[in-house]
């Protein structure tokens, strides 16, 4: 059976590799893909949308409908993870583990205490695996604001440089995940609650679709940002540039919240009490 599988793999792989010989050269301007709509995007995108980064203008304006449903796919993935993994019942064995802050001694209680010990004396830690590394915790605490600032920059500067809502949203989500990894899941959950992640991922998609519907209500086509010019009090070209920014903010919100939602459910087996 293995020999048969290997033979099929070698045969199909050989066919694919022999087919790549017929590919157009890398960067060939006469290749079929570069002849259809690409020249129009390259020549007209600056004068139609005033966005120097053509990738962003194609992604969020010319092909805005595609990107809206990509955002919906991310949102759906988050909802699917939530529905599959989220569990309401507590962990079996209600033992609690605490670390005495001053001495570093770890205390395990066989059942959860009626009143939580004072948090400035005893810090609650996870049952299974909790490294206590002062350097990692403090370096991450110092870095996270800068990572989040960079994420915002990537979202807002997507018109002029590589980046945009997806990348910026992932960076913002990764900063919260880094907090959960270097401190613990409860600290990250204090900063970004479960309700917040769910609401923000839905609001992100809503912003995107809402901008499109607003354009529809203003008499343009769906996602035709030029129709928003009377509201924004700018000319239609600048309105398209601004419209791209609004939908990128929506994409960034949805992606950030979904990444945090998926991570929390994965790392804590859906209980959101403790994790990596």
């Amino acid at each position: 059976m293995k020999a048969l599988a290997l033979a099929i793999v070698v045969l199909v792989g050989g066919l694919l590799i022999s087919a790549t010989v017929d590919f157009p050269d890398w960067g060939d301007p006469a290749s079929p893909a570069a002849l259809h709509v690409s020249p129009r995007y390259i020549e007209k995108s600056m004068e139609e949308t005033s966005v120097p980064n053509i990738v962003t203008s194609v992604l969020a304006d010319y092909r805005g409908f595609d990107t809206m449903f990509e955002t919906t796919v991310v949102f759906t993935a988050g909802v699917a993870c939530f529905l599959l993994l989220r569990r309401r019942e507590p962990r079996p064995g209600p033992s609690r583990v605490y670390r005495h802050r001053a001495s570093g001694v770890i205390v395990e209680m066989s059942q959860a205490p009626d009143t939580e010990p004072a948090p400035e004396v005893f810090k609650r830690i996870d049952d299974d695996w909790t490294p206590h590394d002062l350097i990692v915790m403090n370096v991450c605490r110092l870095l996270i604001p800068f990572i989040q600032l960079f994420g915002l920059y990537v979202i807002a500067h997507g018109h002029h440089s590589p980046g945009g809502g997806f990348q910026g949203g992932v960076i913002l989500g990764a900063s919260v995940i880094l907090l959960a990894l270097s401190w613990d899941l409860r600290t990250a959950s204090l900063r970004m609650k479960e309700v917040a992640t769910g609401l923000m991922s839905a609001i992100g998609v809503f912003i995107y679709a809402g901008v499109g519907a607003l354009a529809l209500a203003m008499g343009g086509n769906f996602l035709d940002y030029a129709a928003l010019a009377p509201i924004l009090r700018v000319d239609p070209v600048a309105a398209r540039s601004l419209g791209i920014f609004f939908v990128e903010v929506g994409v960034g919100l949805a992606v950030m919240a979904t990444m945090v939602l998926i991570y929390k459910n994965l790392a804590s087996e859906g209980r959101l009490d403790q994790g990596l």
Binding site: W26, G27, N53, V55, T56, W129, V154, P162, G163, G164, F166, Q167, V170, I171, G173, A174, I177, L181, M259, I262, Y263, L266, A267, E269, G275, L276
Partner: protein, 81 residues
């Protein structure tokens, strides 16, 4: 494109891809997959597709590796086959 660098990165991509499939330890496979994503990111950047390279670096090498590691921590670390 400098073809020597290209060739070296492509060979490393192949090694990472085969390694991620062959390794029994799923944690190792997750890390190899992250390395694979990062090398692909270098290739995209060399080819001038900087937006794709950015996405590959943040999603492929960053967050999805974390998701894989979290999933391995909560399931089993050894591959059955």
């Amino acid at each position: 494109m400098i073809w020597q660098i290209d060739l070296a990165v492509l060979i490393l991509v192949l090694i990472c891809a085969v390694g991620a499939l062959a390794v029994k330890d799923l944690m190792g496979a997750a890390i190899l997959f992250g390395a694979y994503s990062f090398l692909m990111c270098i290739l995209w950047a060399v080819m001038g597709a900087v937006d794709v390279a950015f996405t590959e670096a943040s999603v492929g090498a960053g967050v999805s590796t974390v998701f894989f590691v979290a999933a391995v921590f909560r399931t089993s670390r050894r591959s059955k086959d």
